[in-house]
């Protein structure tokens, strides 16, 4: 996605040329090529498919309006006339129904929330008054709008108030309004462009997934190797100690959203781990860490090794270190890794962390919330593996269970997340939004299954996806992707068995799968070459004779959700 440029139309009641300028000329990835729809014609542009701005089929739309410009009753309220809340909300409902028309024209639509900067309304005791204060009503309007937009997975309501606050006194400049009909200062558009790009990264699975942290002077004050854990500056009645605790709490909160945490530190491992486990004010313990590399080696190498162990890509990583030399080293050696400048003052750490707009995701799934736990249980599995002899014996002891579900709305966000971020074990590397995948699956000749893996240590969650299509008696395995964290446990073979047995039940004359090579997906080719399917290198296609059986591996207990919508009768046939 790094080199991809997204086309975008910005629709507004005010002059959005400055917003267009920031979106189109910011070097931050992904690049955006934005144009402004005709000024002040929001409803016409939303209603009329034939308008010029839709002709080039923009991938994205931003619909940014001022509340008094599109909600007439709010304008009256703004003029301190009496208007009922019900009237205003009805108008919001009507406006939202017009907004929803855009969902079919673009892959992604962004709607900044309505704001009226404090400098543009008379300060008054009435501002927050129940059902009549301007600020009170504005909140209700935004909540109502959020309810509507939540119905469309490709519409995203962004908090514009955050941009106003970040811009401080420069949020509004009356001169810009009177001379150019621009209601916000350019700081606001700069902040907005940053958030829009974060959304694009999020919906395309490019958000950062792992924060690698230094220890001394980053997670705590002091050098543990010199002072021992008892004398570290962490918590207590000390402003800096308190700031370190707050920073750790902020990191832990991110981990609840699915961001993994790891440690890369130059220290003696047992000393550092003792501090992590024993210091009474540590918020982050080893159970909160996906992994660590604590030694005296080069940090850049440690980053590479840890990221590889966690089966992630370097482009997923943020590296935080108080030491500018270490930051420079990692930045230079690993340009894919995000190494933000870091404040000297620990009291600014939490703010700096929240300022990183690289963790945005359109939704947070249960798998996201439990991701750290999955890595912790993986550590347990690996320990067991070293004690057990053969691979088969190990798999038997794991008590592996694979559950197959038809794609459904509950799993759609996670399925799309997996589809968009899986690089290595991905046969066709199709990237799709929720609405695109949902639309693709919504045909009788196609099936999409999600794959859920668990074992005696716990659940790895939704970790795979397979889709098939039957056309003219040819059965095609279209998507086949699996999270690297369950690789090598016969889940790969099970997924193939599910797809092949289903296609056999549809009486196809050939079963085929097309491998689309990318710079990252060599591992899946290796598996498919070992899978037993015939590989035609010239066409990058794999073939299977439908008359030959492809059983589910004996180490796997397969569970097919019999109540899934679609064709449960045929899914039953895939049981081994």
């Amino acid at each position: 996605m790094d080199d991809q440029t997204f086309t975008c139309v910005v629709i507004s009641d005010f002059n959005v040329d400055n917003a267009v300028g920031y979106l189109s000329n910011s070097p931050e990835r992904p690049l955006v090529q934005a144009t402004a729809a005709p000024f002040g014609q929001v409803i016409q542009v939303l209603m009329d498919d034939s308008m010029e701005c839709w002709k080039h089929r923009p991938e994205m739309a931003i619909i940014w309006t001022q509340p008094h410009a599109v909600i007439e009753s709010f304008r009256q309220l703004h003029d301190h006339k009496t208007v009922s809340l019900e009237t205003i909300l009805k108008e919001v409902d009507s406006y939202a129904s017009v907004l929803m028309r855009v969902t079919h024209r673009v892959k992604c639509a962004i709607v900044p929330s309505w704001v009226v900067p404090a400098s543009q309304r008379a300060s008054s005791m009435q501002d927050m008054k129940h059902e009549c204060g301007i600020a009170n009503i504005l909140m209700r309007m935004n909540l109502r709008l959020a309810e509507h937009l939540d119905q469309a997975p490709n519409m995203h309501l962004l908090n514009a108030q955050k941009w106003i606050e970040a811009s401080g006194q420069r949020a509004v400049n009356p001169k810009l309004w009177y001379m150019a009909k621009v209601p916000f200062g350019n700081e606001v558009f700069r902040e907005a462009a940053k958030d829009v790009k974060a959304v694009l990264r999020g919906i395309h699975g490019q958000a950062k997934k792992l924060i690698l942290l230094d220890l001394d002077e980053t997670l705590w004050g002091g050098t543990v190797g010199e002072t021992g854990w008892e004398r570290l500056l962490l918590g207590g009645h000390d402003p800096v100690g308190e700031a370190f605790v707050d920073f750790q709490q902020a990191l832990k909160a991110l981990s609840h959203r699915g961001i993994l945490l790891g440690v890369v530190s130059k220290n003696q491992e047992d000393v550092a781990l003792e501090a992590i486990e024993k210091h009474p004010e540590m918020v982050l313990r080893t159970k909160d860490l996906a992994g660590w590399k604590i030694n005296w080696q080069d940090k850049a190498q440690n980053v590479v090794d840890l990221v590889s162990e966690l089966n992630l890509g370097l482009q997923s990583v943020v590296f935080l270190d108080d030491n500018p030399l270490e930051r420079a080293r990692v930045r230079e050696a690993l340009p894919e890794v995000l190494v933000p400048e870091w404040p000297d003052d620990p009291m600014l750490y939490r703010q700096a962390l929240f300022g990183l707009s690289c963790f945005d995701a359109p939704s947070v799934s249960q798998e996201d919330r439990e991701r750290t736990q999955m890595y912790v249980t993986e550590r347990e599995r690996t320990r067991l593996k070293t004690r057990v002899g053969s691979l088969d014996e190990w798999l038997q002891t794991l008590e592996m269970m694979v559950k197959i579900d038809e794609l459904n709305s509950a799993h759609l966000p996670r399925a799309v997340q997996l589809l968009n971020k899986t690089n290595q074990m991905n046969l066709s590397t199709r990237r799709m939004t929720e609405s695109e995948l949902s639309a693709w699956a919504d045909r009788p000749d196609r099936r999409v299954w999600t794959v859920h893996v668990s074992d005696k240590f716990g659940s790895s969650g939704l970790t795979g996806l397979v889709s098939v299509e039957v056309r003219e008696e040819i059965g095609t395995i279209v998507d086949y992707l699996l999270s690297c964290r369950v690789m090598g446990r016969k889940v790969e073979e099970t997924m193939l068995a599910v797809a092949i047995q289903y296609l056999q039940s549809r009486s196809v004359t050939n079963i085929v799968a097309h491998y689309r090579p990318t710079k990252n997906n060599a591992p899946i080719l290796e598996f498919w070459k070992r899978s037993g399917l015939r590989y035609d290198e010239a066409t990058n296609a794999f073939h299977w004779d439908p008359d030959r059986s492809y059983p589910v591996p004996p180490q796997i207990t397969l569970k097919v959700d019999a109540v899934t919508p679609g064709r449960p009768d045929q899914l039953e046939t895939v049981r081994s």
Partner: protein, 104 residues
């Protein structure tokens, strides 16, 4: 007018140019030079570009000198020579405003 003040004004104008360049296409960016033509036939600023520059310059001058100035008032329009013609004419115009301001 001490020479230091002109340099400080120019520095503020250059910071304003940096700011507005962020939202401009590479080929439309303004060069940070006193000879840079802002308006007119060979100028790169359209009307919105000029408004953005005016706003950014006023903010940067406020930051540099701690005073609020208005460089888009009627006096600017009444000048015989367009004060927005080049960076140097803009700097001179700002200097003349600051010279009138006892705090400037």
């Amino acid at each position: 007018m001490p020479i230091g003040r002109i340099e400080r004004i120019e520095r503020a104008v250059f910071r304003a140019i940096d700011e507005i360049n962020e939202a401009r296409a590479r080929e439309q960016r303004l060069e940070k030079s006193s000879d840079t033509v802002l308006m007119g036939e060979s100028g790169r600023l359209d009307s919105l570009g000029l408004v953005n520059l005016v706003v950014a310059v006023e903010e940067q001058v406020a930051e540099e000198f701690g005073v609020t100035i208005n460089i888009a008032d009627t006096r600017a329009r009444l000048q015989t020579a367009n004060p927005y013609q080049t960076v140097s004419s803009l700097v001179e115009y700002i200097a003349s405003i600051l010279a009138r301001d006892p705090n400037g």
